[in-house]
Every structure is written in structure tokens, then in C-alpha cells.
Amino acid sequence: MLLNIVHGTESGGFIVVEDTVKYSGREILKCFINAAIKRGEDVHVLGFETSEAELRAGLDSSSGQKIHFHKGHPDPLGWTCKSSVTVQQFNTPDITRLVQNTPHTKAAVLIVDSLSFILRHHQPVVICRSLQELKKVGVVKTIVGLLHSDLHLQGVVKSVCHLANAVISVAPANNEHCGVAKTTRRTKSGKLMQEEEYFDVSEDAALSVKTRTHQPGHVQTEPDKPKADPTSNLTFNLRLSKKEKEAKEKVALPFVFSQEKKSALLRPTPGTGRITYEPDAYDDFDEEDPDDDLDV
């Protein structure tokens, strides 16, 4: 599923790459850029955390003009007016203008590196609204944002992830060189898909999914211990041969009735029960009132 999302086979929207200090999600971000270029789409990068050179390293240099790097790194708050974009410009009209400045043939991809930086300088509520507006306005097909989840309050992280169509959380794998990505994707119909995969990013920002880990939540079945069979060495016979079995089947058991009798017994007979009693010669039938000696 990670590959599908990165390569854009599943329709865009807002994608959050969630990482922590233990494992950087920027490699995945590069994969998104790489995949978008290969599809021939324009990529707009709002870079607040890394320089352009660092981000371009490893990417295909021939298609460099497809990447529109909006430099926010040297001066993110616009104090010395060195940057082409500042944190304050993260709102729908400004970004729409930024993206539409360059003519596009295809829908563009907006990469935000990173959302964490922006969230530190804006109200989270405002950011959430801007992101949703950008998604609705449709100037960009896909928004991919990097979010350092250990820098924010739990509520902020949850709120931003709640808006996303897909959340990719990366973490280091236990003993291997690759990382583990937990992908949660919500389809348009409201269905939810989750998968955990081991992935590896090569030098030229190509993503390869190594193995799928077991489904999250699925408890791994512990290997069955060879159980001692209590019937293995007995001093008497517990098993039946085929012939013996047949003979056993033939024996009619008590209270096992034929189909007809069963259905007759099971047939509901509502309110038809009647007691009929015919007194015989030996019956001592008393005509007198049995209670007449009582002092009533």
C-alpha cells in the first residue's frame, strides 16, 4: 500500500508523513518528489527545514525544472527578506498564487517540509483550515506534509492526521537497516485500510518495499509445541477399524426415532390435549362428596 500511495496510483488528497527523532521521514518525502517527477507532474516544495541542495541530492538532475523549490530555509520568518516564502504565507490565497505563478500542464504536487515548522508559528486551527481549503480548492492534486509528531501536543498531531486521507508513520525497524512504515488510508467511501511494511530508500530516492510485516493487530500464532498424545501407548484398544465402525452404526440406539415419528412428536399441537379415563371394575369410585364430613 505504501508503494501505491507514493506512486500516486490511489487518488491524491492530503497525505501526512509522520516521523519522530528516531527515524526521519524525509527520505519518504523525497520518494514522493521522485515519483511525481517520473509521472511528469510539477512539484512545489515549501522548504523550511532543509536547503535546496540537500533536498535535490540524489534526485534526477535532468528533470530539475519540474521541481519548484520555494526557499523558506534561510529566513523562514522574513526578517531579512532573503527568502522567497515565509511561514506567514502559509494560507490558501498565497499558496494558490505561488503555485499558479508557474504554468502547469498537469496537476501539481505540493510538498510541505515541514508542517511542524508551520504549526509552531500558527494556530493549529488555522493550519487545519488552510490545509482543508487547499484540498478543496484543487490547485494542487496532492499535498504531502512532513510532521514531526514528537514536537507537538498529542491533540494537534491527532487533529492534523484526522484531516489526512493517508497517514504514513515511519519508525526504525528493530534489527534491520530499513524502516517500518505503518500506513493508514481512508478511501472516499469511508473504508479504512491499514498495513505495516518494511521499506528501504536507495541513494537515488527510489522506494522499495521489502517485506510485509504481519498485519497489525493480528496476533502471531505461537508455534505449537508438540503435544503429547495421551492415547499413544495404551494397554487397551480405543480405536475402531472400518468394519467395527460400520457395525457400530448399524446398532439402533434407544430413543432414536425415525424421521416420521420425530416429526409427529415435534408437530405443535396447540390446546388439543385431553385426558380420557375409563374406570374399570376394580376402581373404587366413590359417588359421595368427599368433603361432606368437613365442618364448612
Partner: protein
Amino acid sequence: MAVPGIGMAGPAGVNTTSFQKKSRSKLVSIPGTRPSVQNGQLIVSTGVTSLDYVIGGGLAVGTLLLVEEDRYDSYSRMLLKYFLAEGVVCGHEVFLASDRDHPDEIMQELPSPIVDEVGSVKTKEGQAQPCDQENQDTMTIAWRYQNQPKVQNALASSVRFGHYYDVSKTMEPEVRQAVKCHSFYALQESPTTTELSLLSSPYHALLQSIQSVIRKEGFDVSTPQSKVRNVLRLGLHSLGSPLWGDDLCCTDNPTHCHALTTFLYALRGLLRTSLSVAVVTVPSHLMQNKSVMGQIIRLSDTAIALESFRGSEKETNPLYKDYHGLLHVRQVPRLNCLVCEVPDTKDLAFKLKRKQFTIERLHLPPDLSETVSRVSKIELAGGCGTTATGNKHLDF
């Protein structure tokens, strides 16, 4: 407490006379409503028959149902769509406010009603039928039990109320457009908060919008009855999420911590004096401050919470394998009386079949696997400390 002039059973509920019954039957003239069996309140269906049963027959007109959203908002959204679809089918007016998706998009996804009602009833009866031909052969020893009716999990009242819907299909646009639909989209409102009003601006605008619909379309009970009365169904999606300009979800002590509660208070006042009924969904799993959530529940009449198994460890629990989530009834309304209708069981679960969303009593499925009971027996024997624990094979 409820709408004056509608729930006539109010203060005089003690001595029920035939006179009251007459006045009640006059009120049932609104399609899709009926008086409640318990307190004579005019009720409407939520669209999910089993949910109606759980909350005591249906939603009383003039009250508010709070739905705490599940983690990924898939089932709460479905409940909202059921509620609106029921309104469309009954010819009620509909008001929908949403934040993430445009209200029109949600309206387009409404489930299609199952028109062939006789058929659906037939299948229901088929399930309740004692047993079918193939099962007859299976019981050889305990055959006397084979005509016993199966345990019925599905909750339904004896009287049909509300419609059944097929979630795999969407409603015909013609059917949908036959009713008047008002909508409100939170993102279109400006995010600036006005200092003058207690409410932050999207809530304020929403309240005004609801108010104007109620006034203009004549849902207000105080206005003289001029035309045929109808019910207004309000669906408010994801109130309190950041897109409503509310930071309840982001921080522990939000700047406008009373914005949503003030809104709900005003809304409930509005509902009480009008022929309207509201379903509000709230992303309670995002709320950081639990006391605010408690206040929100207290400000609503009926409150239920959906807990989806998706992404939680309960997903693989064998106890829950037949279900998609749990339904918690947080609050049942006390309308015109001191006690409320207590649901007979609190263990409720919901599941989404291919076509239908239902709520059932949660019960343990029979454990048919051989290993489970055997293992537990061995463990039991070990616990008792009998002599047989040491060697695994039988010794005679």
C-alpha cells in the same frame, strides 16, 4: 421540558384519559412521526430501526441526539446519512452542516431506501423461523430442540417504524431533490472570531442560519399554525473539530472552551420551541479535555458513542469477531418525567453488513473449535494440583 403543545402527555401524564388520546392522534398527521409508547412524545425514527429501539422508540421531536464519532468517522457518518435519508423518505425538511466535505457531497451519498418492504419483512421472518430443512438432519440426539426459535440478536420493536436502507446503493437524485434541503459549510465562513459575541464565528453563523430556517419555514411552534406542519431534521457533522475554528481538539485548555457548549445550549433552546430534531456528531476521541466532553453530553438529550474496532486490539478479539464496533449509550433523555427508559442491556455492538447497519446485543459466539476448551481443561487440572499433571499420557 419538551415542545409545548406537542407532547401533550406532559404534566397530565398521570391520569391518562381518552381526551388526551384524541389530541395525540391529531398530531400524528405529520408523516414519519408517531407518539411514543412511553410518554406520548412525538417521535421520529433515526433511520436505523435497531437504534430507535435502543434509545426508547425513536428521537422525540425537539430533542438532540449526540453521536460520539468513532476514530475514523466512518460509522458515525453513516448514522448521520441514515438519519437524513429517513428524513428525505418521510418528506421532512433537511438541514445539513458539515466541515470537511461539502454538505452536497454528503447528500449525494445517502443510502437508497429498500422499496420492497414486504420482501424485507419476509426475510426477517425467515430468520426467526425455527429451522430449515437442512438443519433437520443435523440434530440426532437433541432433536427435540430443533424447532426451538433461534436467539434473536437484532433489536427491533414489534411495530414497524422507519425504513430500511441499502447502503450499497445511493439514493435516486429525484427522490432526494423532492425535499427541501438547507446546507451550511463551515469552511466558507471566515475564520476570524468576533470579540463581541460569546460564540466563535462559524458557530454563530450556523446558529443564525438554523434560526432563520426555523423562522422562515414555519417550524416555530409559537407562530400560528398557518399551513401543513412538517418536521425539520438537522444534521450537524463533526462539531468541535478544528475546521469549525474550535481548538477543543488541539489543546487541553482551549481559548474558547465554552464556544461549543454555548452553541449547544442555544441550539437546544431553539429545538425545544420548534418542530425540529437534531443529530450532532462530535469527534470525542480528539477532544483533549474530558470535562468539556462531559458538559457536551449533559447538554444533549440522548447521547451515544460509537467505538470502532478498526485499528484497536479489539479487532482480533474472538469475542468481537462478528461485529465492527461497540455502541455505548451514554445518556437517555428524561422527557416530562423523572425516570428515563433504561435500555434492557448495555452490551450493544454494531455491525455493517453488506447492505445494512444494525445494532445487536453482544453475546458470546459458541466456541466450536476443539482446542480452546481442551487447553483450558488442562490448565484447570494443573491449577488443581492433581497427580495427573506430571505425565501427559494416560496410565491405567
